[in-house]
Amino acid sequence: MADFNKSESMGAQEARNILAVNALQKSFGSLQVLKDISLRVEQGNVVSVIGPSGSGKSTLLRCISFLEKADGGDILYDGQHAVKDGVYATKAELNRFRTRFGLVFQNFNLFPHYSVMKNITEPPMIRGESREEVTERASALLKKMGLEGKENAYPCQLSGGQQQRVAIARALALNPEILFFDEPTSALDPELTGEVLKVIRQLAEEKMTMVVVTHEMPFARAVSNRVIFMDKGVIVEEGHPEQVLGSPQQERTRQFLRNYQR
């Protein structure tokens, strides 16, 4: 355990990997959901993960955010091992790793009994920040999300798109180094997806590091630095969005995209 969290030495010219996953494996019973998944996310990059349902893309996000326990492989944040060969760091260390990422859920998972403001301010306050500091940041975030004046509203009074933007603000309020999105628009009416995608696009322009599991192909194409196509627990193809989505090399990718456009 001695060198568990020692930084891996990196070449100076190499970009900083906010997240690195090596040979990640996960099974539910006899069903192997993730088989040997490896990926890197460099600082300021947006990586989109696409694939049919059951391909393991959500499980991948849930493993790297520690909601699901991987069976094997490594998970590194900024070069530090959170998971090494399937062995997890201590509870306290994992909790520190949790401050590095934020997760936005498909179903928002806002706290319904809290006002919008409290949804955003309580998590940083629990981590010991002062109310003044946090409130100021939360107000700025709400403004950025186009939710001024909604501070005292309750989630049930907001549209799905507004709720999801609150959820994004809540995740950002903890100043994460990387943000994960698990199908952020899948639970929304089509007319509300635009406002959420716009916010994510804006974050991309500000060089926020993000991993987005999505079914929004045009969005993935426009925003991502890299697209990963997953199927049956493996990465089938990955690369520049124009390449993966425009001229895919693998038959399985082509088939998926064809079905998608129908």
Partner: protein, 215 residues
Amino acid sequence: MSLMTMIIKMSEGLGKTCAIFFLTLLFSLPLGMIVALLRMSKAKVVSAITRFFITVIRGTPLMLQLLAVTYGPYYLFGANVSRNKLIPVVIAFSINYAAYFAEIYRGGIESIPIGQYEAAEVLGYTKFQTFMRIILPQVIKRIMPSVTNEVVTLVKDTSMAFTVSYQEMFTIGKQIANSQTSFMPFVVAGVFYYIFNAIVDYLMGRIEKSLDYYR
């Protein structure tokens, strides 16, 4: 005996009726939470034992439980029957109601979407913080109607204390009814319980309403 005298005599027992009611709530509401948490324990033995306990309490009459707690120690160990019957009465009521509340709590806790736990975990809440700040407040809102039901039943169940001759309102009424061969004391008792429950209904309704600010 005039109606007025009956009412006055029975009112004297109301304090004891209230004592059973409030003390039972005071003990059974938190005890029920402990039972619910044990029932949901991941340790199979703990949850099985708790489950058995709940089936016994819910599967046998409260009256029997009152007799068992009050006189059981005498028959089992030759211990003196406590002078102050309030103690065994409140113990029996608290255990009985805790079992019912436990199942209500469990239903409430299990109805909270898993996403609430996951969001809290990712945001850095500890397990305890998650339960106290995120889960419990939502559980309370959801279970209020069922809890009100139990509380209303408890008001009426206090009359069961007559089986161990604890001198609460109904016991006195029953004694008057016997000695005067009159049905009036039961009418008076009925009115008392009705008024008591009207107040309970009103107060519980207020609490429910105060939780109406979110869905």
